[in-house]
């Protein structure tokens, strides 16, 4: 059972095309810096954030892969990824660049139910 003080931040948007992913990660980092226990869930297009080989944009846009590299520094270590979203995009956990835990559909409702707060980006 999860710690009931956990904050769940759901990331459903891909990197580079919009600011949703970065703005969601910023909430997670700030919450962690304030001592919250943060769980990240990559869902839908959000799983694209975990694809390896990402780069800065052609005008120097930072993307979000550099932010993901900082998660451990902020003690954000519980990183889940929706297995169905990965499969739909032809991805496997093994080829991702970050240490993440795949979750199946039956686990999702419990993950939401046991979090003290949920931010959905």
């Amino acid at each position: 059972m999860d710690d009931p003080q956990t904050m769940l931040v759901v990331l459903r948007h891909a990197p580079h095309d919009s600011s949703w992913l970065r703005e969601g990660l910023d909430v997670a980092l700030v919450a962690a810096a304030l001592g919250q226990d943060v769980t990240l869930l990559f869902l839908g297009d959000g799983v694209e954030a975990l694809r390896s080989g990402q780069q800065a944009g052609p005008l120097g846009q930072k993307g979000s892969h550099t932010t993901l590299d900082m998660l451990a520094m902020y003690d954000i270590e519980d990183i889940r990824v929706d297995a169905a979203s990965l499969a739909a995009r032809g991805l496997t956990v093994a080829e991702l660049d970050w240490p993440v835990t795949p979750v199946t559909s039956d686990v999702l409702p419990g993950l939401f139910a046991t979090s003290a707060s949920v931010f959905n980006f």
Partner: protein, 130 residues
């Protein structure tokens, strides 16, 4: 109960601001307290004092002001999301060498910590997204 709202949609581009305002009035009518509205993502555009909507459309900026006045609600605007989108108060304008500003009290530029804080201290947090 103590409520907080998060508004992520820009005014006039999306219904999110309208829905948030309607919900705000309804919760006050039911005797709850609206402590905080936090503007994030394109929601920061709601804080502009320069908006001039057509006469026959609702003036969202004025509606937020009236709400803050009557309910004592804090209108918090994420400063990082705001500055890159051209939303700045007098202090930040001076700091960045900008010739004018478009955010003034009761709208208040603040950090994301205030959003996290609201999620911890309020009984309910409801988000309106575009």
């Amino acid at each position: 109960m103590r409520y907080g709202l998060v508004v992520m949609g820009g005014p006039y581009s999306h219904q999110a601001s309208h829905s948030a305002l309607r919900f705000a009035h309804a919760l006050v009518d039911r005797g709850h307290r609206l402590e905080t509205v936090f503007f994030y993502h394109d929601g920061v555009y709601n804080a502009s004092r320069l908006a001039a909507p057509p006469q026959d459309e609702p003036h969202l900026g004025d509606a937020w002001l009236r709400l803050a006045e009557s309910q004592g609600t804090a209108l918090l605007v994420c400063v990082a999301a705001a500055l890159r989108r051209g939303m700045t108060d007098e202090r930040e304008a001076r700091r960045h060498g900008k010739p004018a500003y478009n955010v003034e009290p009761p709208f208040e530029l603040t950090g994301l910590g205030q959003l996290v804080e609201a999620s911890l201290t309020h009984d309910r947090l409801v988000t309106f997204s575009p």
